[in-house]
Amino acid sequence: MTNVAVALDAKQTWIAEFASSEPDLAGPAWLRPIRKQAIARFEAAGFPTQKHEDWRFTNLAPLLRVPFKPAILGRPDGVLAERLEPFSFGVLKTSRLVFVNGQFSPRLSYLRPLPEGVRVASLAEILRNDPGSVEKDLARHAKYEDDAFVALNTSFFTDGGYIEIPKGTVVEEPIHLVFVSTSHEMPTVSHPRNVVRLGARSQATLIETYAGWAPDVTFTNAVTEISAGPGSVLDHYKIQRESESAYHIATMTVDQDRDSNVMCHSMAFGAALSRSYVHTNFHAEGGSVALNGLFMPSGVQQADNYTRIDHAAPACTSVELYRGILGGKSRGVFNGNIYVRKDAQKTVARQTNKNLLLSKEAFVDSTPGLEILADDVKCNHASTIGQLDENAIFYLRSRGIDEEAARHILTYAFASDVVNQVKVAPIRIKLDQLILSRLPKGAGPGEGL
């Protein structure tokens, strides 16, 4: 089958799936028309092909060929708590919500003491018991109108994290959402949906971990919607460590009010094909955002990173730093889009993407982008693709350090700019370990570069 035929076929399958499962999807009355509109948009637009500008470098055919089934509802998840241990952060104390194939697992979850008024719950539970509190946010930030995967998620989601921080409240301990994707005989799909609301001058640290184990074939299609109130501070981490046979597509939309300060860290290690889309919007002046990304595919993995920062208000600052480290025959994409609207004077926007190729067969497409309609702004972008510096390797070797260690030190150093942006020390330590564990072994002059 051609890729176009595959996409068409997959589209029909999803539409039929919706028709049969829609009556059983839980949720308040106001959600049903939204789901129907979303599937209608999906039906009209279909899956993007490589003719779409934003999908030029991403061939979805391998994903669309797999006959994914939703994990059977109500089935005991069978994931042992010990298996989640590697996804925690050492001494770091967090509240933790665990979702297995999209379903909340009370057994694996726990809440630490939280300040008054803070709500950390499963979205399904909120939709059951207090749907009014989520109505103003759910499907209001992440637009299904122009994105097939957001549309699918909106049509099918059943659960995810719901986090609400009241105004003026500082939550000291991070909140950890863990999404475990597993499969047995049949490839499984899940559509986690997270809704996060930060009240005025509130502060929180949120971690999303996407977990899985080889050789499970899974498809995780996640959407996170965040609204950051005036003067709020959010430190957000997304750490993707799914099975290397998994497909992972995640969209995060952040709407920022006046003087809010958001950091979005995106770290991609797992999945056969992953695509992370981070989309932030400044709606009022004085906001700042930092997008801090690391993608580290190896073998035959592909890791795509799309970002869009919409400066729709004046005097906001965005700093974007993405680094790719690509080994084996892996591929990566960085596509950064900064949009400065006409009235967004005094905008400061800096975008940097640097890529390190550890093998001759690795490949990266880097497309930095700035579109500026205002005239009083400070904006720049830079993009580089390179290999390890042979002079630097020789310098280290000339001091007694062996070649493999020299290459490791330099690769690790390359990631350090991004890792050093991580404010929470146990997360930083965990990232260090993950990076070190993924460095190629025994790369001599004959292999690698």
Binding site: G400, A405, A413
Partner: protein, 256 residues
Amino acid sequence: MLEIKNLQVKVGGKEILKGIDLSIGRGEVHAIMGPNGSGKTTLAQVLAGRLAYEVTGGSVRFEGKDLLAMRPEDRAREGVFMAFQYPVEIPGVSNAYFLKAALNAIRKYRGLEEIDAMDFMGLVQDKAKLLGLDETFMKRGLNEGFSGGEKKKNEVFQMAVLEPKFCILDETDSGLDIDALRLVANGINTMRSPTRSMLVVTHYQRLLDYVIPEHVHVLVDGRIVKSGDADLARNLEKHGYGWILEEAPRPQPARA
């Protein structure tokens, strides 16, 4: 300690060293001087193990072992150290991390226990002070944003910490103001000992006013054309390289 016999080296297919003979005994300091392009840096780099240099003939023995057969890291572990003319900047690797990794790699090779962080800091503190490097220096990225002088001091500092048997100083004086030159020279002189040998590669006499060599060799067009004592360096400073070029035998016809 070091025996170089008829060493011939090509770089990018071009013959740069055309048969070098040099014998450096234990505890001796030798200087190699010569005009630009004479092959001084090539000699230093070949001894340190730079791969881009093709040895087409001759031999180098270090304490009786075939130096040219060793990987660069093994040369370092055996006790060879080159202070680079252009030290490399490596952001993201702190000076402390780098130097501790180097020291431990060398110690491991020699069958010694790895040094822990506390002992390491104790070891480096005095040596850093000797070279006028302040405390923040160890935490900064390796040579990252260092001035030319700081980079050269760092080379000599590394040498002081790693305590090699044989030191090659490649244009270590270039780019130094007089204060930095004195600090660097003092650092080098502190390391002189009856068991440690040095090869000082330089274009100018300047460093040799402070680090006084026993032997001076003049390298011209890939060959040592004259050897002498420290007075030879002073003569070169006074009269330039012209008189040597005229005096030197030229076995090959002059290039067009």
